[in-house]
Amino acid sequence: MDLTLILFIVLAVVAILTALGMLASRSAIYAALFLVLNFATVAIFYLMLGAPFIAMAQVTVYAGAIMVLFLFVIMLLGAEKLPKGEVLPWQRPLAIGLAAVLLAEAGYLLFQRLHITAGLANPGAEVNAPEAIQAMALSLFNQYLLPFEVTSVLLLVAMVGVIVLTKKEKGES
């Protein structure tokens, strides 16, 4: 057992616990905060895989922007305390069923790849070189040009959508 593996196991447990905490929490604010912790652990996973840019972007965009929006929405609805009973009665069995399917799928993949004995990713100092980020940037803007440009259309749709939803038309009361 090397240090990286121990760290990975500890973080994996934290990630699962925060996810469960988010599901079990009766206060929407606490649920959102558990999700922030979960995002932070995922960011550390990215770091361990040698992807510092993605790790930092994860913190900036997910923890720093999207979760702030979640907090705002919770406060907007005044829904800090969740109701006791079930709102959607069919939701729980459906969720359990889908979770079982996902687990089975993950297990199948895991057993299929079991014979590959490659160790954990153990990035060295080369990940921290400025050239590494530059190489990532070059492939983003050359090889993945189309997805990048399409992203802007996606962002545009989101922007128009939120304005249509929240702004009243002139004359409409």
């Binding site: 705002f72 802007s152 922007m159 939120v162 702004k167």
Partner: protein, 118 residues
């Protein structure tokens, strides 16, 4: 492991420890004579009216969504900023297209009065 990030983790632990020690000091030495009057929410000396937390205006939600979109744009501009010398004119036009598509939404928001704060 990435040594530099471990150093940052050590730093985070030190700062959090300082924060908790400071709070602990305050709890240890401060007097504790709480009364009902003291525990009331502060409203400039008046008796508080209504609940403390209430539903907030929808405009904050709008601002938060717009912020996410432009934040993602900034995150995309960061790798561009270190690679644009190699990408040359091609990269500049590429980035301009990206921004112009976003600016269409921005001007729509402006014209719809979404940036106005009533």
């Amino acid at each position: 492991m990435l040594l530099e990030y471990t150093a940052i983790a050590a730093f985070i632990i030190v700062t959090a420890a300082i924060g908790f020690i400071a709070i602990g000091l305050g709890m240890l030495f401060g007097p504790k004579k709480s009364t009902d009057k003291k525990a009331m929410p502060y409203e400039s000396g008046m008796n508080p009216i209504g609940p403390g937390t209430r539903r907030m205006p929808v405009h904050f939600y709008l601002i938060a969504v717009l912020f996410i979109l432009f934040d993602i744009e900034v995150v995309f501009l960061l790798p561009y900023a270190i690679a644009f010398r190699q990408l040359g004119l091609f990269g500049l036009i590429e980035m301009l297209i990206f921004i112009v598509i976003l600016l269409v939404g921005y001007f729509y928001a402006w014209k719809k009065g979404a940036l106005e704060w009533e």
